[in-house]
Amino acid sequence: TFGSASAAELVVGFSQIGSESGWRAAETTLTKQQAEQRGIDLKFADAQQKQENQIKAIRSFIAQGVNAILVAPVVATGWDEVLQEAKDAEIPVILLDRTVDASDDLYLTAVTSDLVHEGNVAGKWLADTVAGKPCNVVELQGTTGSSPAIDRKKGFEQALSGHDNLKIIRSQTGDFTRTKGKEVMESFLKAEGGGKNICALYAHNDDMAVGAIQAIKEAGLKPGTDILVVSIDAVPDIFQAMAAGEANATVELTPNMAGPAFDALAAYLKDGKAPGKWIQTESKLYTQADDPMKVYEEKKGLGY
């Protein structure tokens, strides 16, 4: 409907949550890159962490008559109505990095990782690594109420159940940030005999782990040795820490969700073939054995 756009050019709206972390920035960068590579005109809308803004953005994408919509939903609930509107307007919607609590005929597909699974992978690694020795774990949760915090906690606890040697002794929110991660870890160390009672740290994201690693060092302990560190996301900085032996493992959450999404969209638009309802991205585990510096170099330029 836009005069300037050529008939062949696809216009896709992308409603991003915001820019609350380096991972999110990388996802945005990659989405834009992928769109550019495919010659897609990407309409980007930043929702500043607010669902209402995402709904508004989707509505105005519909009003503009885009060809498709990508959404990275901030929360699982509350999408039925606006997705229905998109459906009525015959605009396919693809969900990125999180699914929603809505009937699955309202969207084309969801490209996500499994958050519970991520926690599970981290938990399994820890259980395998300590191998039956008693181990007190402290947990740095994400923002209270956010779905990664809830699911990553759940997955981790699932992996730990049945391993009576592993016990979560303290769990607090670090708001997904380095500063809070460091502050909360400091208090964990004070509360647990200067850190002597702590054998491992599980952080819901790498940023908190990086902050916590500094706190551990400042308390005179060796992260990675005295206290095992496992976290999720696989942002570049954690690979540096791994290379230095200060972190032990991370579970990757790939920021490239748009690539598979655009592929599925292209296939669908070409011959109407609907993809499966869930395109799961890999939750790959990285440890110190995976040449962390190499991964760091690879990831450095992706806008994390």
């Binding site: 508004k56 999408w79 109420g145």
Partner: protein, 322 residues
Amino acid sequence: MKQKYLPLTATILIFVLSYALCAAQYPNILSTRVIGNLLTDNAFLGIAAVGMTFVILSGGIDLSVGSVIAFTGVFLAVVLEHTSMHPLAAFALVLTITTLFGALMGVIIHYLEMPAFIVTLAGMFLARGMAFVLSIDSIPIKHPFYATLKGLYYKLPGGGRITLIGGLMLLVFAVGILVAHRTRFGTNVYALGGGTATAKLMGVPVASTTVKIYAFSGLLAGLSGIVFSLYTSAGYSLAAVGVELDAITAVVIGGTLLTGGSGFVAGTLVGLFIQGLIQTYITFDGSLSSWWTKILIGALLFAFILLQKGIIHLSRDARQRA
């Protein structure tokens, strides 16, 4: 025209002008769909902003509204999921709670002579904390009554809709305007804004007015929460973070003085539309990065305030010359 209508007129003028500018660039902005969306998407904010207008007119501030909205949503979701209560009964219950919550803040503000900013800041922590305690998960609301309510809308030609909640917001504004300008309570609100000590000497029942103002704001925050839960069919404890700032912004762009005593409920509606327009424009543009979005929102906010000042200043000068 009267001096006191000047800020209001300036705001309306700015809105119309900028709407025209946006429409010139993106003709779709004129579609009924966009206009309908402007109402629906801002319904909860608008309702909360009406309450905020009263609070600000009285010289106070209410930072708790965003949290109260979240609390209301979670409360409704939990109640509707775990009990067989009818949504209407749940609405009544939650509105009672939020009204009492507001009244309690008013009581503390008046009787303990504490600044509203701080009391309502504590209220903000408390309400969101209560929401967390009820549930940290986001809970979908599947009650059929919700679907019925959402099915109620008036379809405009061109695909736009005036939804129930959009209509409700307009109704709340209408009631707000009546209360502010046509009741003794409304005048008392302005009187408090003019100076509490003087108002007291003039026989304004300061205590009951203060309590009523915050209760009213609590009631509308609750109503806004209901609207928000209808809007998203869910309750989520992290919802509506920072809505209080948006509401304050709408009130102030609408020409109400934060020091109290001067302004209009109707102005808030225009302020709300201006904010909505900024957002619509940004999504229509769609080329801005996250950071440029923030910078542009700030810059446009600044531009609106400046324009408003300019218009008021110019017409004052003109009057003096006349």
